[in-house]
Every structure is written in structure tokens, then in C-alpha cells.
């Protein structure tokens, strides 16, 4: 291992290897691929949220110029259900195939598909389809009350007890606690809104189906689509070379994917289907609305004695998705009596789904807000309260943490931010005529690995190819794989070709859970080791090789050169020279590693930790609130590429500003439509709202995760930030907002 070597690319600021392709337009996103004879599909959306589709009038649409077909239940052909499987295979959040029945469960449900020679013709035809419904009253009520669910509910990822964690006597300890907090926190439905729309192009060749799909999981998409079309898995290939992000919304296939494939099958032509921005709010998932009651009991000195986190989230009529707000609750702080439990409220809405930091992000908003309010009640500094309740181990299961430096996060963050200068009195801090608010909150996120396989080739021109069927969703996965291959072979990044985003490659993980990087490390390293082992055999067996007579074990590869260990790397031979001498174009190695996240009987409790310190400015005269400064400290294992790593955290903080202040999907009370279904009315943070964001990585390797000690960083930056912002808002204005987003009207008092 050369991880401390000055030439190692690990831990070095490394610009994206795919950057030049992106800025020059050479990077092809899903909807950029064009095929001869390709047709365009545009779905027709239901304009009721509950009821039955009685009739479709497609006559006018079918007669329009360029229209090839209008598909619906009667002519789409068979689409089978994708059935649930344990783990992370064959996952999709809406298991009912499109057009399976005439029951409308949510506004925007696809009821037909127009296919035409051009997108414009298909759109015009889709608009010309007329539907008749038996409309029933829809329920999109924002206030949530738990439905009648069994004690153990079936979710996307398997059965989950509704009382998900319990220890001690939380009710009794709360009742007798000298200091109490009992508040309910609400987070709204949020829509992922990656800039790149969901898109699929389906191409059939006999019984072979190829899908160009904007997906965060080509391997899973292959499994799902194979089931939906009754095909062997090897007959389906899914390609996703570049993504304009997904934020979890593209983890698993949505109904437009089989629709495109079914239309292509019926017409014998490639069919492209790009989901509109409006449809992005309806039929491709969203983050559930949550309502979380927090009860905290503490001693007068601030030691937690009870923590109850009882929450309800909304979900679709069809889905199984569990918004696990209690994910971080059981282990984050030391408390002898604890309960995390949930209930579910069914609504006439599209399916809920993973969205960046699913569960933990809304959950930590509630728990960290409650900690801040408890600190207030105790007249204690919120950092101190957290330090006082630091656990020695994971109290939910008695396991030691694999690597936890939360205390150091808090101390470093406080120091960098200047927290010691905080005057806790409301509205007491001023700068340039503005009132300042300072707030903070902690963060946590899962760590571990998914199953992953990879292939590494060393080639006779001195280049390396590394391949894995994971994806780069814009976070820098191409670069990470290049760094890993370079680390093992010493070949510079420029000479490393990375192939991702194709299910024909060795199975790779979904780009989800912030686990892709940690998952691919052992697979790529093993593959590289195997390729190098093959190379060394060639070195000692090829006639004319300077290494004849040595044993492979005598040799090593470093800096792209093979050398005799005893002689040092100075006299090495470039591996390309050796391959050419052997008349071998390449050597190849395969490697794989098993899943460790969510595995039974873990030896350690594995999580990442972090914290945010936030400053807001408040101008009461005009009710103007701005986030002016953020300091974030992350304990997320070894950071392989700090440049793209900081970018991940900064992006998450920017998204967190949106979560705290702007984002909310609003359902029309009368017809159940997501009514602000565009990027003007669904507000996300814009550049002008993004303050300076100072990111620090503690960079402690977590060797329980993988040999480099790298965890993941895609999501944790969004955890806790909303609680830090609302705490800062309270410090500036005196107003505690417990229902996100914070709006001007909350502060006009």
C-alpha cells in the first residue's frame, strides 16, 4: 500500500476526470442518444387523484400528423409486475405496472402514451387525448394521523417494526424528568428536482432489450425490467453514462421506463420518453411529508434521561416506502430510556421515495431541533448539551462505533465559527445594521458497503481500464475509480480509462446511500491485484523478459513499472513494454466484495458524523432573512478526493438552505395535484442565496469499512443543516419555526 506516498492520488484534490467531456458537450446524457428511426413518447396524465378511468377518446390524437400510436390498457401488451426481493435487487417504488388497471391513485398517473415521429407531434397528440373519469374525493390532507398498520410493516427494503427502537422506560423517565421538551416538527413533501429530467430510450433487438436510462442503478434497473418483460436478466442491458443528478429519485425505475420499453416493443422502433418537469412532481417519487413528535427529558444539569421520537409520514396508496426518520435517533446521543416509533398515513399522491439522506434528514431536523430547544430550556449552550450527552458506544445495540469523532466535529466547528463569541440573548448580535442569528446542529449518516464487482485491465500501451456497473451521478465516481486504479498501478490519471454506467459491466452498486465509493474500493483493489498478479506471471515467464528466473512474489508494480523488490523500483520496466514483448494486448483482473451495510450481526456500529454552524442575517424592517455563513465539519472517514468531497458537502448545504427556507411540494386541496409543479413555483436555492461554506473533513480512516477507510459523503451534508438554520432564525428573531420551510409569514410578528 502506498497511501502515504507523495505520488499517491488518494486524498489529493483531483479535478473530475470527466470534466473536460462535460464542459465541451462530449458527455452524452440519456436523452442525448439518438437512434435511426427513433420515435418519441409522451404520456397522458390523469387529472384526478382518486377514482376510475371510464373511457379514453384517442381518435383525434391518432389522426394527428406524425402520430404512430396512442397506447393504453387495451393495446400496450403485457407488462408484468416486478416482485419484491430481499436486499437491494429488483427494487421499484411503484410495483403496479403502468396501465395494469383503471384505478387512479394519484394525480398525474399515466393513463395513455402517445408515440410520434417527433416530440412535438407526440406532445400535441397526448394533449388531444380525452379521458372520462368516475372521480372520487381525494385525500391529500397535510395533517397526518397514523393509519391502522400492523406492528411490523412491509417496506421497500423489507419488514420493519413500527416500534423501531426501544430501551428502558421512556414514558416513565419522561414523566419524572425535571426538564422536559414536547414539540412536534413538520417537514413538507419535497421533490428531488435534479436538473436532468428522467429519460429513457428503449431499443429491442428480437428478445434483447437495451435501455438508455437516466438511472442511479443500472444493475437494479436491469433486474426490474427483465421481470416486467418476462425476460432472462441477460437479455436486458441498461446504460446510464452521465446523469444530471438524481438525489435518490432515480435510484429505481418508475413507470415511464416500462412504458417506453412496451411502446418500443409494440412498434418495433426505438422509443424515447423524457419525463416533463411537471411529471417530475407527480410520478417519479418525492420525499414524504413528516410530522414528528419529540419528547426529551433531562436532568437540570442537562443529562438526557428520556428521548421519544414518534413520527408519522405520508405515503402513496400503492407504495411501501418507509421514511425512516428514526434512523439516527437510537445511537446519536447517550440516553438510558428511548423510543423511536412510526405510523403511516396513506394519501392520494404519487409514491414517496428516497431523497438525499432519506429518513435521517427529516429525522435529524426534528431531533436536532429538539436538542436545541432543550438547551434553550436548560439555559445551556447547545454545543455543551451535545458534549454532555456523548455516548461511549451505540446504546441501541451495545456495539462500539467503528470510528466516531462527533465531539471533535463540534469542537472544531465551534472554534472555526467563533461560537464562543455567541451572545445567546435573542436579537442581541448585530453587524452592519443587520441582526445576526447563530445556530448549530449535528449530523449523522449510515456507513458501510454494498456488494460490488469490478474489472481492471492493464494494457500494452501503458494504459489502464477500470470498469464497474455503478454510475457517476455527477458526484465524481469516474474520478474515484481512476484514483483507485492509479493508486494500485502507479499509472497517471490521464492514462486511465474508466467505464461505468452499463449493466454489461461487472455488477456495481446503486449510486445511493452514499455507499458507492466505499463499496467499489475493495472490488477495484482486488481486480487490480489480480491483474497485477497476472502481469507478474507474464514477467517471469515471457521469453526475453528481464525477470526470467524470478518468482512472481519477488516482483512488484509501482509507478507503472515492474521491478524486483530487492532491487527497488529504480530498475523497473514499464508494464506495457513487457506486455508487448509477450504479444499480449492486456492482462485483466476481476474483483468483488460483499455487502456490509445493513448486514446482520455487525461487529461495530458504523456511521459518519458531522455538524453545521450557521449564521443568518435578519432585517426585521423588511422581513428579510438570509443565510450568511456556514461552517461544516465532517467525520466521514478518509476523504479520497477532497476537491469533489467539499463540493458534495457544499452542494448539500445549499440544498439544506432550500429545505429550511424554500422547498415544499404543495398539493391542491380540491384535485390533489402537486400544484407548484415547476421550478418557478417550487423554489430551490439559487446562487444568490448560497453563502460562503467552510467545509472541514476530519479525515480519520475507518478501517472497518474498507482498506482505505473511506465512508461516503453524498448525503450527510444535508443532515442537520435545517435544524441549524432554524436555530439561527430563532436566535435572530425569537421565532421558533417547527414546520418547514421557514416562510416570511412565520417571521412577520
Amino acid at each position: 500500500m502506498t497511501e502515504t506516498s507523495t505520488t499517491s492520488p488518494i486524498g489529493r484534490d483531483t479535478p473530475r476526470v470527466d470534466g473536460p467531456r462535460k464542459v465541451t458537450g462530449l458527455a452524452q446524457y440519456t436523452s442525448d442518444f439518438l437512434f435511426p428511426g427513433m420515435l418519441y413518447g409522451v404520456p397522458v396524465e390523469a387529472t384526478i387523484a382518486n377514482g376510475k378511468l371510464l373511457a379514453l377518446d384517442t381518435v383525434a390524437a391518432e389522426k394527428m400528423p406524425g402520430v404512430r400510436a396512442v397506447f393504453h390498457r387495451a393495446n400496450i401488451g403485457r407488462i408484468f409486475r416486478s416482485t419484491p426481493a430481499p436486499g437491494f435487487d429488483r427494487v421499484c417504488e411503484e410495483r403496479r405496472p403502468p396501465f395494469e388497471d383503471d384505478v387512479i391513485q394519484y394525480y398525474g398517473q399515466y393513463i395513455a402514451l402517445a408515440v410520434a415521429d417527433t416530440f412535438e407531434a407526440a406532445k400535441a397528440a397526448a394533449d388531444a387525448v380525452r379521458a372520462t373519469y368516475a372521480k372520487e374525493k381525494s385525500n391529500v390532507e397535510a395533517r397526518l394521523e397514523a393509519g391502522h398498520d400492523p406492528d411490523v410493516v412491509f417496506t421497500t427494503y423489507g419488514p420493519v417494526p413500527r416500534e423501531q427502537s426501544k430501551r428502558g422506560d421512556p414514558e416513565g423517565a419522561f414523566a419524572s424528568a425535571p426538564v422536559k421538551l414536547d414539540e412536534t416538527y413538520v417537514t413538507p413533501a419535497e421533490t428531488h428536482n435534479p436538473l436532468e429530467l428522467h429519460a429513457t430510450t428503449a431499443i429491442w433487438d428480437g428478445t434483447m432489450l437495451t435501455l438508455y436510462d437516466s438511472t442511479q442503478g443500472v444493475v437494479n434497473a436491469r433486474s426490474v425490467l427483465a421481470q416486467m418483460f418476462g425476460l432472462p436478466k441477460e437479455n436486458v442491458r441498461v446504460i446510464s453514462k452521465f446523469l444530471g443528478s438524481g438525489f435518490g429519485g432515480k435510484l429505481y425505475p418508475w413507470t415511464h421506463v416500462p412504458l417506453a420499453a412496451a411502446a418500443a416493443r409494440q412498434l418495433g422502433k426505438p422509443v424515447k420518453l423524457v419525463v416533463s418537469r411537471k411529471m417530475m412532481f407527480q410520478s417519479v417519487g418525492h420525499r414524504a411529508r413528516t410530522q414528528q413528535r419529540m419528547r426529551l427529558g433531562a436532568t437540570r444539569e442537562g443529562k438526557l434521561v428520556s428521548l421519544m421520537h414518534d413520527y408519522v409520514y405520508h405515503m402513496s396508496m400503492l407504495g411501501d416506502y418507509h421514511e425512516d426518520c428514526g434512523e439516527a435517533t437510537p445511537f446519536h446521543y447517550s440516553v438510558p430510556n428511548l423510543r423511536a416509533s412510526f405510523g403511516r398515513a396513506r394519501r392520494n399522491i404519487g409514491a414517496t421515495a428516497d431523497m438525499r439522506g432519506p429518513g435521517a434528514v427529516p429525522g435529524l431536523y426534528a431531533t436536532e431541533s429538539a436538542m436545541n430547544e432543550l438547551a434553550d430550556n436548560l439555559k445551556m449552550d447547545p454545543v455543551q448539551l451535545r458534549l454532555l450527552n456523548e455516548p461511549r458506544l451505540d446504546e441501541s445495540n451495545g456495539l462500539l462505533f467503528s470510528s466516531r469523532h462527533y465531539v471533535e466535529c463540534l469542537n472544531v466547528g465551534a472554534e472555526k465559527f467563533g461560537w464562543a463569541k455567541r451572545n445567546p440573548a435573542i436579537g442581541s448580535m448585530k453587524r452592519d445594521g443587520l441582526t445576526l442569528g447563530w445556530g448549530m446542529a449535528g449530523a449523522a449518516w449510515i456507513a458501510g458497503r454494498f456488494e460490488a464487482a469490478a474489472n481492471v485491465q492493464l494494457r500494452d500501451d501503458g494504459t489502464v481500464r477500470v470498469a464497474c456497473a455503478t454510475q457517476d451521478i455527477g458526484t465524481g465516481t469516474y474520478t474515484i475509480l481512476a484514483q483507485l486504479a492509479s493508486e494500485k498501478t502507479g499509472v497517471p490519471l490521464d492514462n486511465i480509462e474508466v467505464e461505468l454506467g452499463d449493466s454489461a459491466l461487472p455488477d456495481g452498486p446503486i449510486s445511493g446511500g452514499s455507499l458507492a465509493t466505499s463499496s467499489v474500493i475493495p472490488a477495484v483493489f482486488k481486480a487490480a491485484d489480480q491483474a497485477i498478479a497476472s502481469l507478474l506471471i507474464i514477467a517471469v515467464t515471457t521469453p526475453g523478459s528481464p525477470f526470467l528466473g524470478h518468482k512472481p512474489d519477488d516482483l512488484a508494480l509501482e509507478g507503472g513499472r515492474i521491478f524486483v523488490k530487492a532491487e527497488g523500483p529504480g530498475k523497473g520496466v514499464p508494464f506495457g513494454d513487457l506486455l508487448r514483448r509477450a504479444n499480449a494486448r492486456l492482462v485483466t483482473g476481476s474483483g468483488s466484495a460483499e455487502m456490509t451495510a445493513f448486514a446482520p450481526n455487525p461487529k461495530f456500529s458504523k456511521h459518519s458524523f458531522g455538524c453545521h454552524f450557521v449564521e443568518v442575517t435578519w432585517q426585521a424592517e423588511i422581513a428579510r432573512l438570509r443565510v450568511s455563513r456556514v461552517v461544516t465539519v465532517m467525520d466521514a472517514g478518509r476523504i479520497l478526493n477532497p476537491l469533489t468531497g467539499r463540493n458534495q458537502i457544499q452542494g448539500a448545504v445549499v440544498m439544506g438552505i432550500g429545505m429550511a427556507l424554500f422547498e415544499e411540494t404543495i398539493y391542491d386541496p380540491q384535485n390533489g395535484a402537486p400544484i407548484n409543479s415547476n421550478l418557478a413555483d417550487y423554489m430551490v436555492t439559487v446562487n444568490a442565496d448560497a453563502p460562503p461554506i467552510d467545509v472541514t473533513f476530519l479525515d480519520y480512516p475507518d478501517k472497518e469499512i474498507n482498506e482505505l477507510g473511506a465512508r461516503g459523503i453524498g448525503e450527510i451534508g444535508l443532515a442537520g443543516i435545517a435544524a441549524a438554520i432554524t436555530d439561527a432564525v430563532h436566535h435572530a428573531t425569537g421565532v421558533r419555526v417547527r414546520e418547514l420551510p421557514v416562510r416570511i409569514e412565520n417571521l412577520l410578528v
Binding site: 387529472t47 412535438e120 406532445k123 400535441a124 394533449d127 424592517e621 423588511i622 422581513a623 428579510r624 438570509r626 427556507l661 424554500f662 404543495i666 391542491d668 386541496p669 380540491q670 384535485n671 395535484a673 400544484i675 407548484n676 418557478a680 413555483d681 423554489m683 436555492t685 439559487v686 446562487n687 444568490a688 442565496d689 416562510r743 416570511i744 409569514e745 412577520l748
Partner: protein, 333 residues
């Protein structure tokens, strides 16, 4: 999108003659003039506008900014918002207009959007923009789901029981305060319309938004000579820092002599069903000392007749604060 004929006339008379065949110049027009297209094309993609013919007026030489004989400014209908906002004379004498434009949209949109088009900017009410919804403005008599639905950003001034749609323009708010004049050429000759008369209140005909008739082509806008010593300010309040329509905005012009207000013009944006000139505020300011108490009274007066819906009551107080602060900052400028 509805199939349409795209025509690029080079002669105003031909353009006017073609447009005069439209059954209306209001919602549902079958012939539309197109400037930058930043509103019209959007609405055509949404099937809210379905013209059979679109007349591109960018070749009619209406793109000049010129001094008028009386010392004012003549602004052609196809002058781009960016060019107008950055024009030296606008920045010097009509600062409120420059500020208003630069507070709107994005640089890319301002580079396309025209003055004439901005005068006709349509509401952002989500129900208007979605043909699956009822809307009295889009389909007269179909009902207004906004009144009982999502109305947080909608109007509190000039509303009716049929429509509460907000006029979203920033530019128009400044033009209202500046007392601009709109010059229209129609099939029966040309005429001038004072800014305050141009936009209509919704009443029971919310589909009628302006006084324009079929064939009426806005050729230019004139601004009166600058008011000497006028202190001007446009203040826009919104949820995020940029790229959002106003929750409340104010265009103010104040002339102050010896601590007293000798001339005041006030218009509000983001709160009215049309660009909202406030004679009540102007009256409350005229002749009064330029101090916080006066400004607050003016703001009270401006919002006295405001009517809130289920979600937008806060806009009354926000608009008050917006106007008070705008007056204060203008007076100190």
C-alpha cells in the same frame, strides 16, 4: 402545443392588418404579436395560449430609445429589458425603472424580453397556467380554484370574486410610478393611453387584462421629463434572493425640499391584480415632513383596501413594510 403560422412582418401596417383579424386581443386571441417570446411561448407550450398566427414584430424597427422633444424618453416596444435597464439616461433620470427591471427574472430572460411584451406580462397564478384547472381568466365562467386553493402569492389589491391573479411585472410598477404613456397604433389610427388606464381590473371579466383591441400594436412607451431632484427607489421583497417574482415590491419617487415632501409617486408590485399605483399613499405623503411617521402613514393608506385570502394575509403587512422602507431609503438617498 397548437400548430400555428409564424409570420415575420417588416411593415407595421401589415402587422396591424393581420392582427386585426383576431377575434380578440385578450385571452384566447387567435393572432398574437411576439416580442421576446418569454411569456407567450411559455404559455403556448402550456396550451394556455393557442394562437393560429404569431406575428414576430422584431423587424418593425421598434427597438430604439430616443430623447423626446420635451426632455422625456421614447422607448420602442421591442427594446430589450437589458438595454433599457442599462441605458445611461434611464440610469441617470429614471433610476427606479432600471432597478425594477434588473430585479426581475434573470439576465438571460432580460436579454430577450421586450418592453412591449413586459407591459403584457401574464400572471403566474398556477391555476391560470394549467389547462387541467378551472380559471375564470383563461376560461370565463369556469371558476376560480385559487380563492379556496393555493393563493399565497396572489393579489390583495384590486381583486374580485372572480379573480385574484397577481400582475407579476416589475417593470410595470416603475412605469406606473413614472406615469408613462403607452402609444398604440391600431387599424383605426394611433392613440395614447396613460399607464394607469392601460391595465384593467379583473371585475367579472378577468380574461380582459388591457384596453387593447384586435390589431392594436404597442409601438412605444414615453416617459415624461425627469422630475428634478427626484429620489427614486425600487425595492422588491421575495422569499429567495434572486430569480423570483415579488411577494411585495414598491417603486417610489420623492422630491424633498426643506424636509418636506413636495412630490411623491408610489406604485406597488406583487400585490395587485394590475401594476398598483397608489394615489392614497401619494396623498398621504404630499406636503408632509419626510420622516418615518409619514412613511408609515403612507403605507397604511396604500394597503387600507387590501383584501386577503386564506394564505396571503401576510402580504398586507409585508407590503406595508416594503413601502415604508422604500420611502425611508429613498428619502435618505
Amino acid at each position: 402545443m397548437h400548430i400555428f403560422e409564424f409570420i415575420r412582418p417588416t411593415d407595421p401596417a401589415a402587422a396591424i392588418a393581420a392582427a386585426a383579424q383576431s377575434k380578440t386581443a385578450q385571452q384566447g386571441a387567435d393572432v398574437r404579436f411576439m416580442g421576446g417570446g418569454t411569456t407567450l411561448i411559455d404559455l403556448m407550450k402550456l396550451n394556455v395560449e393557442t394562437p393560429d398566427r404569431v406575428l414576430d414584430i422584431n423587424r418593425l424597427s421598434l427597438d430604439k430609445i430616443e430623447d423626446t422633444a420635451d426632455g422625456g424618453l421614447k422607448i420602442g416596444a421591442t427594446v430589450r429589458n437589458s438595454d433599457l435597464a442599462n441605458h445611461p439616461k434611464v440610469q441617470k433620470d429614471y433610476l427606479v425603472l432600471s432597478q425594477a427591471i434588473l430585479n426581475g427574472a434573470s439576465a438571460q430572460i432580460r436579454n430577450m424580453a421586450t418592453v412591449g411584451g413586459n407591459l403584457l406580462q401574464r400572471t403566474r397564478c398556477v391555476y391560470f397556467r394549467d389547462t387541467a384547472m378551472s380559471c375564470n381568466k383563461r376560461e370565463p365562467g369556469s371558476g376560480c380554484p385559487a380563492i379556496t386553493g393555493h393563493n399565497r402569492t396572489l393579489a390583495i389589491l384590486g381583486t374580485s370574486e372572480h379573480c385574484i391573479a397577481t400582475n407579476p411585472s416589475d417593470m410595470c410598477v416603475a412605469m406606473a410610478a413614472l406615469e408613462a404613456t403607452i402609444h398604440v397604433q391600431g387599424s383605426k389610427g394611433s392613440r395614447v393611453v396613460s399607464f394607469g388606464d392601460f391595465h384593467l381590473l379583473p371585475g367579472n371579466t378577468p380574461h380582459r387584462e388591457t384596453v387593447l383591441e384586435p390589431g392594436d400594436l404597442i409601438t412605444h412607451v414615453t416617459l415624461p421629463p425627469p422630475v428634478v431632484g427626484s429620489k427614486q427607489l425600487y425595492l422588491k421583497l421575495r422569499d429567495r434572493a434572486s430569480y423570483e417574482f415579488a411577494l411585495a415590491s414598491a417603486a417610489v419617487m420623492l422630491t424633498i425640499a426643506s424636509g418636506r415632501i413636495t412630490h411623491a409617486r408610489v406604485a406597488l408590485g406583487g400585490v395587485g391584480t394590475k401594476p398598483w399605483r397608489s394615489p392614497e399613499a401619494e396623498t398621504a405623503l404630499a406636503g408632509k415632513p419626510a420622516n418615518d411617521a409619514t412613511f408609515r402613514q403612507a403605507a397604511e393608506a396604500a394597503l387600507r383596501n387590501a383584501k386577503a385570502q386564506s394564505e396571503n394575509k401576510f402580504k398586507i403587512e409585508l407590503a406595508r413594510r416594503c413601502l415604508t422602507y422604500a420611502l425611508k431609503m429613498a428619502s435618505m438617498s
